[in-house]
Structure formats: structure tokens, C-alpha cells
């Protein structure tokens, strides 16, 4: 018999509500709360342990909580990990997402959770893990545990899995190669879609574009001649020794480098480490990617007040949106602390 472990919060463990939300993580042998029901309906595995953690403990000490739980799990044998369902509880949803993601990364086992579509945990983690669509409250506990268990059974049995939509979990945005039974080639399918579009008929795209996350337009700069402007690039321009060892693809690191008093970026002193384009031109003249020379000229002319003393750089190929967002937020700290008013970003 294969083995499963379930993560739940203090409330579903029967310990208490808000007053107990600081409850430190623990692992219990056997079944606590929803684990009983899950164990009953799960066919291909038995639930051997229940992990319990207070939502606030997880929320405010995420790293510590995750680390401790991973330690609990290190000497346990398990083939699948469940969490929740978290319904519409935001902190619980985020906790389920955090722990599932960490367990998946560390142990490589399938992880399954469930949340209501308005739970912020959905947007935070749907790309990383399988999140089933749950009801709003514990009233749908049984139904939601069923969805999780059925999927878990399929995975454990090695059955062929359908798409996210067919299975009923939130789309992760992962593309799979599939063989179509009717063997209609892509060229025919796309022309069929085009014809339908021309005729104004409904069609289903094979490559749905995820909904856009828009940010409000930042206000214009009133007096450019008094503003401090910083240069940022995703084109991988770095000092030739790449002191911060920024990766050439799928970057998780970025750097800022002093350009005070420099009129241009000299070849041989700066280069690009970006693996997504031919570096010849940018290596020969880094200004074609990071236009320090032009910015300095505008500073000297007085069109801008000041060019910020550092440029900021990373590599924007294969870089996940989450990593890009984190790096940008780290840069923003510097911009705010050092009085940068506006940014010119060059991307490749």
C-alpha cells in the first residue's frame, strides 16, 4: 500500500480558531480531522500522518515553518502529499500552496490541494502545483476531498491524466505534447479555427492567453531637467568578470554597477552574458544594449537632471515571472532609497 500525508491548519485539527493560529508546526502519527475522511475515500494509499500548523505561524514565519515541516517529512515514507482543502481562507490557502510547493521541490512527490477560486493562494501557486477548485466553506469538505482523492488515486495508479480542465484543477499554464486520436494535423486545425473566426463562429484556441495583469500607469515626470533617471536592462550587460555571477538564462540574480563619471560602456570592460541572443554586437559596443553614452549626453545637455550612478541588470531569458517580479522589487528598494524618479528599461 502506498502512503499519503495530509497538511491541515490548527482549525481543522480541532485546536481552535484565531486564538490558536500561532500554533507551531507538528506532525502526528495517524489521522487528524479531514485526514480521516481522506483516508476513507483514498483507494490507492493510506494516510499515515497529519501535519498541523497554525495559519499565522505559517504566514509570518513561512521559511521557518516550511523548513521544520520538511524536517518532519525527511524520515517518512510517502508517495503523495495533500493539503487542505483551504476553501476561501486566504492564509490557509497560502499555507497550503507554500508547503505543497516546498514538498514537491524537495521530495519530488505529487502534491494536491484545493481552494476556492477567490482564494489568493490560487493565483500565487496555481502555476506551481495542482489546485482543485473547492467550495467556499467546509460545507463542501467531503466533495472537495473526493476530488483530491480521485486525482491522487489516478496519479498513484499511473493512469493517463487529462488536461487541467478535464481533471478539474486550475490551469497551470504548462504545455504538454499530446497525440490526438483523430490525427488531424496542426495546419488543418489552425485553418479550421481561422475559418470559424472569419465566419464569426465560436472556436477554442489551443493556446489560450492567460488573463492580463495590468498595472496603473505611473504619472508623468513633471520636470525632467530635475529628475534622476536610472538605466535598467534585461539584456545581460555586466562587467566582463560578471562579479555577481548572474546566470545566462533563467536568471535569479541581478546586479547594479557604478557608472559614475563614465561617458560610455567600453568594450572589453563590459559585455553581455545573455544566452538568448548573439552577443557579438553588444560585446563590441555595450552601449547598443545599455545606452549609457546617450543618457550621459542628455545629462550633459541638461535634458535630464541626473543619470543615477548605477545601472541595474539581469538576464531576461527563461526567467520566470515570479523571479523577475522579485528582482524588480529588490531593485525598487534601491530606487526609492536613492531618489530615482524614473527608469529607462532596455530589453532584448
Amino acid at each position: 500500500m502506498k502512503k499519503a500525508i495530509l497538511y491541515i491548519n490548527q482549525f481543522f485539527a480541532g485546536l481552535g480558531g484565531e486564538a490558536k493560529a500561532d500554533y507551531a508546526p507538528e506532525i502526528k502519527n495517524g489521522l487528524v480531522g479531514p485526514a480521516m475522511e481522506l483516508d476513507k475515500i483514498l483507494q490507492n494509499a493510506e494516510v499515515t500522518h497529519t501535519v498541523i500548523c497554525g495559519d499565522n505561524f505559517m504566514g509570518s514565519n513561512t521559511e521557518k515553518a516550511v523548513e521544520r515541516i520538511l524536517e518532519f517529512l525527511e524520515d517518512k515514507e510517502f508517495d503523495i502529499f495533500f493539503a487542505g482543502p483551504a476553501f476561501q481562507a486566504g492564509r490557509y490557502g497560502s499555507a497550503c500552496g507554500n508547503i505543497c510547493k516546498a514538498v514537491k521541490e524537495k521530495f519530488g512527490v505529487p502534491v494536491v490541494t484545493a481552494m476556492h477560486e477567490e482564494n489568493p493562494g490560487v493565483d500565487m501557486f496555481k502555476k506551481d502545483i495542482v489546485i482543485f477548485k473547492s467550495g467556499k466553506s467546509a460545507a463542501s469538505m467531503r466533495k472537495d476531498l473526493n476530488k483530491m482523492a480521485q486525482f491522487g488515486d489516478k496519479v498513484l495508479a499511473g493512469e493517463k491524466l487529462g488536461t487541467a480542465e478535464e481533471e478539474g484543477y486550475f490551469i497551470r499554464g504548462i504545455r504538454h505534447q499530446v497525440w490526438l486520436e483523430d490525427e488531424v494535423p496542426a495546419s488543418d486545425r489552425v485553418v479550421d479555427m481561422l475559418l470559424k473566426k472569419i465566419r464569426g463562429e465560436e472556436f477554442i484556441s489551443e493556446l489560450p492567453i492567460p488573463e492580463l495583469d495590468r498595472v496603473p500607469i505611473a504619472e508623468k515626470i513633471e520636470e525632467l531637467s530635475k529628475a534622476t533617471i536610472a538605466l535598467v536592462t534585461s539584456g545581460g550587460i555586466v562587467p566582463v568578470e560578471n562579479p555577481d555571477r548572474i546566470q545566462s538564462a533563467s536568471a535569479t540574480r541581478w546586479g547594479r554597477y557604478n557608472i559614475k563619471g563614465m561617458d560610455r560602456l567600453e568594450s572589453g570592460v563590459y559585455k553581455t552574458i545573455h544566452a538568448g541572443y548573439d552577443p557579438a554586437a553588444a560585446d563590441a559596443d555595450p552601449n547598443v544594449c545599455l545606452p549609457l553614452d546617450a543618457m550621459r549626453a542628455y545629462e550633459n545637455e541638461g535634458k535630464i537632471g541626473k543619470l543615477h550612478d548605477y545601472f541595474y541588470t539581469t538576464v531576461g531569458t527563461g526567467t520566470t515571472q515570479a523571479e523577475a517580479a522579485r528582482m524588480a522589487n529588490e531593485m525598487v528598494e534601491y530606487f526609492k532609497n536613492e531618489g530615482v524618479d524614473a527608469i529607462v528599461l532596455t530589453s532584448t
Binding site: I209, L212, D213, R214, V215, P216, I217, A218, E219, K220, I221, E222, L224, A227, I229, V232, G235, G276, Y277, D278, P279, A280, A281, A282, A284, D285, N287, V288, C289, P291, D293, A294, M295, A297, Y298, K303, I304, A324, A325, A328, N329, M331, V332, F335, K336, V340, D341, A342, I343, V344, L345, T346, S347, T348
Partner: protein, 78 residues
């Protein structure tokens, strides 16, 4: 890019793939000429490259001072 704008800092993106910049949600955009050499074609003279770069960076700076109501791609002449 978006995170910087989300923080309230005015930003202009100079990009070759304007449709991508639009899709990901850039608000102020200025086109560049290519991916490997956004602001200076190495097959042209240094002077031509400088002219192009100086012009387009100037457009980007003007974009920062322009009030916009929607995603805007600013026009370049060179």
C-alpha cells in the same frame, strides 16, 4: 518592469518585441531595432548608430514626461 511601475516609479520600456511588451503590460514603450543590437546596427557607421541611439533614447525620455491614458508606443523617426 511592471513591479517597478506598480511601485509608482515612472518607467519606459525600450523593446524590439513591442507586442510582447504590450502583452506583459508595459505602459510606455519605445521600439528598438533588433534583439541583439537594440540601439545601433553594427553594419552601419558609428555615426549612424549614435544618431539612432541618441534619437530613440530621447524619445524614451520624452515618453517619461508624457501623460498617457492607455498603453502607448511612442513614435521614432530614425
Amino acid at each position: 518592469m511592471k513591479e517597478i511601475e506598480r511601485a509608482g516609479i515612472t518607467i519606459v520600456q525600450m523593446a524590439n518585441l513591442i507586442p510582447v511588451a504590450k502583452t506583459v503590460g508595459a505602459n510606455r514603450m519605445v521600439p528598438t531595432i533588433s534583439i541583439p543590437y537594440p540601439l545601433g546596427d553594427p553594419s552601419t557607421s558609428k555615426e549612424e548608430q549614435w544618431k539612432l541611439r541618441y534619437h530613440r533614447v530621447g524619445v524614451a525620455l520624452d515618453a517619461l514626461t508624457t501623460d498617457i491614458k492607455e498603453q502607448t508606443v511612442f513614435r521614432v523617426k530614425i
